[in-house]
Amino acid sequence: MSDTPPEGTPRADGPPTGEDEGHTLAYGHSLRHPAPRGGQNRADAAAAEGPPGPEGQKGGSRPDRGGRTALERKFARLGWGFALPGLLVVLAVTLFPIAFSVAMSLSNVDVSAGGFRLSGFTTGHYGLLLGSERWRYAVLFTVLYTIGTVLAELVLGTLIALVLERLGGAGRSWMMALLLLPWAMITVVSAQLWAYMYNGVYGILTSASENLTGEPVQFLGTRFPAIISMAVADIWKTTPFVAIIVLAGLMMLPKDVTEAARVDGADAWTAFWRVRLPLLRPALTIAVLFRILQAFGIFDLPFVLTGGGPGNATESLALLGWQVMFTNLDFGPGAAVAASTAALVLVGCLLFLRAFRSQVGEEEAGT
């Protein structure tokens, strides 16, 4: 087993193996960026690359065959002791359900009072998906919808975080409280709320649009308005997630970084774009990564708001999976929809990690 993660995945930071931290999701590794903390930089770059511990001790240990010192091995054991409880809980709960779902997607499933009966191996469920117009549309819709909403949320969320950062003090905490409300709302309820506001006859937004344009806008009745309306409801609810992660990231940035840039004569925009944004990369990465996951699995919103309609215009993969599984009671194909969703998100996340990193990398090169 190698310490090097698969291509395009976030590289772990493993000091003893000497990985390049400049490319990991780390804050404050300012080798490439102006930071007047020379002392720490040097420490980062050189000596402190080992496990936390006094350097003297480190030098005193004799390396084992794998090039590890006794101390390193001790720290590795400690690391596993720290990491295992969490990992085991995750495994204990999710391993069986995921394995079971994948198994269902690959065999003939009979739902019956005696349980799910799996028999034989078949790729037929996946064949059914590939041959289905409905599935292909759901894939297309989900991918485009994810890209659209996540991009919008990323931009809006970052802007909101910047505003909050400047706001400071009491204003910020009031805003935080307010921002958390949509996010903390039960998705089904927020979907009901938007359905109520979009209602074609007595919805507040419909009547507002009538006052503005003289003609009521039908938000949910036709295809593209329905897609946009759903996206707006989604953006309203989930942008705070991005904003808060980015705000927390901003707070972790060393203040002197920006100040140094200012002293160098950069205006606020350049300081943000050239200095702080690259440093925010880890926070942005996490926010986007998990937003991709959530957006790709969107279910409650179309379930309540549009029922996937009009036609199948807003049918997401998760909604399709639900319908195949629990409306048609076809658990095999339903599990195949779920597994295909997971596979697609994985590809999406990996692509994102890769694109995001190389893009930022180029920018750094150009500086």
Binding site: P85, L88, V89, L91, A92, V93, L95, F96, F100, D110, V111, S112, A113, G114, G115, F116, R117, L118, L128, L129, S132, R134, W135, N199, G200, V201, Y202, T206, Q218, L220, G221, T222, R223, A226, T306, G307, G308, G309, P310, G311, N312, A313, L320, W322, Q323, V324, M325, F326, T327, N328, L329, D330, P333, V337
Partner: protein
């Protein structure tokens, strides 16, 4: 801490046990002689129905007559699909915590096929089914065997504004075309905003609305032998064109394509529409002064015919049955419960609370009919049932409503919509649809 340890300890054995369970353990069919005594505690899982608290009132009355049995009412989510998902997981997971449950009128074939409902014929006397109208009893069958006992019924009705028709001296329309004209006249006079509201959103309810209209026009969805799709026909084309014309001319609000029952009812009771198609509950709701702006001005009639067809047009069959969880350990008590709930006393309680009974005697009771015009009409109208005897009805219905809705929303031209619906339905019938 204990949770963490327990999880770590359990992980391996649990995985194995669950996998073993998952791969299926024996059949759960109950031997007729082994139904157990008619006593004990049972749980009834049901979607809310009737006026607030009606399920509990029924239970109280039952327990009074059967003191040995105690019944717990467990409210199900008010969304049929969510309820079905919970039931499927519970029962296929081998749980017996629910003994008896309400089930939608379109579930028998699907549940029967998946072995999720206990066949009842061995346990109930042959003459049990005589209490129902023949059609109603047949809808509870899967492959010739009853898997459900009809509990309460429902049907589609036409609600209209008595005051507006009187003002314009117009009769209650007998055909859909007449309805459209009447509506247009009243709309043009500026008395009301819309002419007609129904349920044309992208969901099961649109299939019902569609079937009522096409059955009136002589159209079908599948052939009589249920082997081939029959939706792409001249009759159905007329119906679809008619629906689209209602939208184009503003008789039906363009928001109709996102209307389910609550939205169409709300539009009607705000006084924004002349005509409204809805289930039986619509009468009480629209005449209730606490919620309705048009209380006392609402009339009820059977659905219209399609031009040239027989009046009245057929009503879609709705309602709920009772099913037994095959894992229940109190079958004896459950059977007593079903017998009572479908008996005279309970069915009368339903009728008195504006819930349509399924039992013929109560349905046809002249006394009750005089008090409840909904019941009076329901007893006489012809009905059209969804082709839910097809175990894959869910996919067939999706083929109907998604394509019709897309066409009503203007995404697909009518001929293409019917052609695609036909393809989808055909694939569903052949077990080839997603």
């Amino acid at each position: 801490m204990s949770i963490r340890r327990a999880a770590a300890l359990c992980a391996v054995p649990v995985l194995l046990a669950a996998a073993a369970c998952g791969s299926g353990v024996g059949s759960a069919a109950v031997d007729p002689r082994d139904v157990g005594p008619a006593s004990g505690a049972i749980t009834w899982y049901a979607i809310n129905f009737g006026p607030e608290g009606l399920p509990q009132k029924l239970i109280d009355a039952f327990e009074k007559e059967h003191p040995d049995i105690s019944v717990t009412y467990q409210a199900a989510p008010n969304n049929t699909d969510t309820m079905r998902a919970t039931l499927t997981t519970e029962i296929s997971g081998g749980s017996g915590s629910i003994d008896v449950f309400s089930s939608d009128v379109i579930w028998p074939a699907q549940f029967g096929r998946a072995d999720l409902a206990m066949p009842l014929d061995e346990h109930l006397p042959d003459d049990f089914w005589d209490r129902y109208p023949e059609e109603r009893a047949r809808l509870a069958e899967y492959q010739g065997e009853h898997v459900a006992a009809p509990f309460y019924a429902d049907a589609g009705f036409l609600y209209y504004r008595k005051d507006l028709l009187e003002k314009h001296d117009l009769p209650v329309p007998r055909t859909w075309q007449e309805l459209a004209e009447t509506a247009k006249t009243i709309q043009d006079a500026g008395d009301v905003r819309y002419g007609y509201v129904g349920q044309w959103a992208n969901y099961e309810g649109l299939s019902v609305n569609w079937l009522e209209l096409t059955a009136a026009a002589g159209g079908r969805v599948v052939t009589e032998d249920r082997e081939r799709c029959a939706i792409d026909s001249e009759e159905n084309r007329r119906v679809l064109d008619f629906m689209r014309r209602m939208l184009d001319e503003g008789i039906a609000p363009s928001a109709s394509t996102s209307f389910q029952e609550p939205q169409s009812l709300q539009t009607f009771i705000e006084g924004d529409a002349v005509f409204h198609r809805n289930w039986g509950y619509g009468f009480g709701e629209s005449n209730n002064p606490e919620v309705s702006a048009i209380a006392g001005k609402v009339g009820i009639a059977p659905l219209p015919a399609f031009e040239g067809g027989e009046h009245p047009g057929p009503s879609g069959t709705g309602g709920w049955n009772l099913m037994v969880n095959p894992h229940s350990e109190s079958i004896g008590a459950v059977l007593t419960f079903i017998e009572w709930m479908t008996g005279d006393r309970a069915q009368r309680m339903l009728a008195e609370n504006a819930v349509l009974p399924t039992v013929s005697d109560v349905l046809n009771d002249k006394e009750l009919q005089r008090e409840d015009p909904v019941l009076a009409i329901a007893a006489d109208v012809p009905t059209v049932a969804r082709p839910a005897v097809i175990p894959r009805y869910a996919q067939v219905s999706y083929g109907i409503f998604s394509n019709i809705n897309a066409s009503l929303a203007g995404s697909t031209p009518p001929d293409a919509a019917l052609r695609e619906a036909c393809d989808d339905i055909q694939r569903a019938l052949e077990g080839d649809a997603l």
